[in-house]
């Protein structure tokens, strides 16, 4: 089959496309001792700035480990007797919302990625008259402040009897995720040579067959980039959850915010909660950082 003979070229192109979003130079030899005084100064400044960036991370963890004291007397203090007690309290209050967040994030990210992949495939490989202009019209949806649509969205969900529900939130995240996933996949598919589509067309495959048989198997890196981007965005969302969800459907960000009491704040528990809410996206970032950067730069319209 023509498609098969093209395979090596394509996978190389796919790999190139995967690298493309990061636009990083070929990896330099990672560890070398600075050779000049200037080199040492640069290294020193980078190290100090990096430690500075880590101070808030340290503060979150140190305070979260301070146990049931409520709040230490000084934000930089490391607890004398570190304990996980604060996590127990935070987990009791947050576990339901963490489960909600998971139930919202996974389907919404999957479906919006799938829709974005189909749109991106059409826009990159089957552009029609006016498709570029329509794409620009679609992209505006990525940047609007959601407050400008929140009242109609709220009324719309009421009409469907989905107000306050997890399904309603999933629906909203899918719809407002379409522009960004379309953008990521369009850029990704443009890096895959059109010859492969032509070959499939010569073999008599139509648009859908070419998509499912040829493009989809090549799309794994695109799905990883878009998936991470969407998972992070949806998990970290606050506005939609805050305004649209009923208490039973609150995502973790909303419940975490509610841990801030009106009079006194139990900072140990709050920071333990912050660790729980941050853990999934931070792990995703640390494990798949390369793809994370891919989605980040994809948000930049070329």
């Amino acid at each position: 089959m023509a498609v098969e003979t093209l395979e090596p070229t394509t996978s190389r192109a796919a790999r190139a496309a995967r690298r493309r979003p990061g636009k990083r130079a070929p990896k330099p030899r990672s560890w070398s001792i600075p050779k000049t005084a200037g080199g040492w100064i640069i290294l020193a400044i980078c190290s100090i700035a990096t430690l500075g960036m880590l101070v808030p991370v340290y503060v979150i963890i140190a305070t979260a480990l301070s146990g049931n004291t409520g709040a230490p007397s000084f934000f930089l203090a490391f607890p004398d007797a570190p304990s996980l007690d604060a996590f127990k309290g935070a987990w009791t209050k947050l576990h339901g919302s963490l489960a909600n967040s998971l139930q919202i994030t996974i389907p919404a990210a999957l479906i919006s990625c799938f829709l974005g992949s189909i749109n991106g495939y059409i826009l990159a490989k089957f552009p029609f008259k006016g498709s570029n202009a329509l794409f620009t019209v679609l992209l505006v949806g990525m940047f609007i402040p959601f407050q400008a649509v929140i009242i109609p969205v709220f009324q719309f969900l009421n009409m469907l009897h989905l107000q306050g529900s997890i399904v309603g939130l999933i629906l909203v995240h899918i719809i407002y995720g379409i522009p960004i996933t379309t953008l990521i996949f369009r850029n990704y598919y443009e890096g895959i040579p059109s010859a492969i589509i032509e070959a499939a067309a010569i073999d008599g495959a139509g648009i859908w067959k070419t998509y499912f048989r040829v493009m989809l198997p090549l799309s794994v890196p695109g799905f990883v980039v878009a998936g991470i981007f969407q998972c992070t965005n949806i998990w970290n969302d606050f506005l939609f959850g805050f305004i649209l969800a009923s208490p039973a459907a609150w995502p973790a960000t909303v419940t975490l915010n509610n841990l801030i009491g009106t009079t006194t704040v139990n900072y140990s528990e709050l920071m333990a909660g912050a660790v729980l809410v941050a853990a999934p996206t931070v792990l995703l970032y640390l494990v798949l950082g390369k793809f994370f950067v891919g989605g980040l730069t994809a948000g930049a319209v070329k």
Partner: protein, 334 residues
């Protein structure tokens, strides 16, 4: 074109074009139909819904549960009411101050970080990972952490007191306006002091901490794309490090700067979560922003919430539309 016979469209003669799939009218129409549902849904949820919000802002609809779609007379009276409010004026001042200082910190910080990290001999990956780490966090997580860091009695003020500063600022609870330009009396149109609210500073620092890595990543990508030969040529010509920066590196980074500017600006205008987690409206609305204003009026005044939302939208579109149109034009030329 109504003919359904498979008619091959001429292949794009430009060999550089990546879009040279030969497809006929029928495939083209099918492609358009596949794209149509997404476009229609987006059109409804973005453009139609914005239209509805704009209409509500002109209507008499106040309480969500009792719709009143009659137009308020005189037309646009809600907007007139808005601009005279002390809270509205404070919001505009706050969002302008927030945006300007935040952009300066995040973009300059990102540029400097990228320049250093690009040239560092060891640990490049580690530095880059740490700088971008906050970007993976929710604004709520960032907000609660920085709320604690700037808590008046246990936070950075402890350090300031140890340094001999007797009365450190109350940060997010401090009503002081730095560099106040005016002193409004009750009768003026301007009902707020123009200047920099002290209470906004911790929120700005938190936002800059979270997004400086984003700017750094954009600039690192830009730096990696500068051809090595340009720098070598400058070296041969005897250009010193500042001259190379001024005449070669910075001009080549201009596209990264535009991207950072636009994307971070729209984050700044829409800022909501971070302020909710750190301070809310603050004393005398010193940390109030349009996002919070809209949220507060969602229960009692649909018309006012909508009017503020439309103003916020217009502020965003002024920046975003030229950026997208520029991208579209470039795309057509490519």
């Amino acid at each position: 074109m109504t003919t359904s016979t498979a008619q091959p469209t001429p292949v794009d003669p430009d060999p550089r074009s990546r879009k040279q799939v030969p497809h006929n009218v029928r495939t083209s129409r099918k492609a358009a139909w596949i794209f149509a549902p997404s476009l229609l849904v987006s059109f409804l949820f973005v453009y139609v819904f914005i239209g509805i919000t704009a209409y509500i802002s002109l209507s008499n609809w106040k309480i969500g549960t009792s719709p009143n779609m009659s137009l308020r007379q005189p037309l646009g009276a809600t907007y007139g009411e808005l601009v005279q409010e002390q809270r509205f004026q404070a919001d505009i001042r706050n969002v302008v101050v927030f945006t300007v200082i935040f952009l300066l910190l995040a973009i300059l910080g990102g540029l400097v970080a990228a320049l250093f990290i690009h040239h560092v001999a060891a640990g490049k990956g580690l530095f880059r990972t740490v700088f971008l780490l906050p970007y993976a966090l929710s604004f709520i997580v960032t907000g609660v952490a920085w709320r604690w860091i700037f808590a008046p009695s246990t936070g950075v003020n402890e350090i300031l007191r140890n340094m001999g500063i007797q009365n450190p600022p109350g940060w997010t609870t401090d009503p002081t306006i730095l560099g106040a330009l005016n002193d409004p009396s009750g009768t003026d149109f301007l009902k707020v002091q123009l200047g920099i609210p002290v209470a906004l500073l911790p929120i700005i620092f938190a936002a800059a901490w979270q997004l400086v890595g984003f700017a750094m990543a954009m600039y690192l990508a830009g730096l990696a794309s500068i051809p090595e030969e340009h720098l070598e040529a400058a070296n041969v010509d005897g250009a010193n490090i500042w001259q190379r920066l001024r005449y070669i590196v910075l001009p080549q980074l201009w596209p990264s700067t535009i991207t950072c500017f636009v994307l971070l600006l729209h984050v700044a205008l829409k800022i909501f979560d971070l302020v909710v987690a750190m301070s809310g409206s603050g004393p005398g609305f010193v940390t109030d922003v349009p996002g919070i204003y809209i949220y507060n009026y969602l229960t009692s005044r649909y018309d006012k919430a909508s009017a503020m939302a439309i103003i916020l939208l217009l502020l965003t579109l002024v920046v975003i539309v030229p950026y997208l149109v520029r991208g579209y034009r470039k795309e057509r030329k490519a």
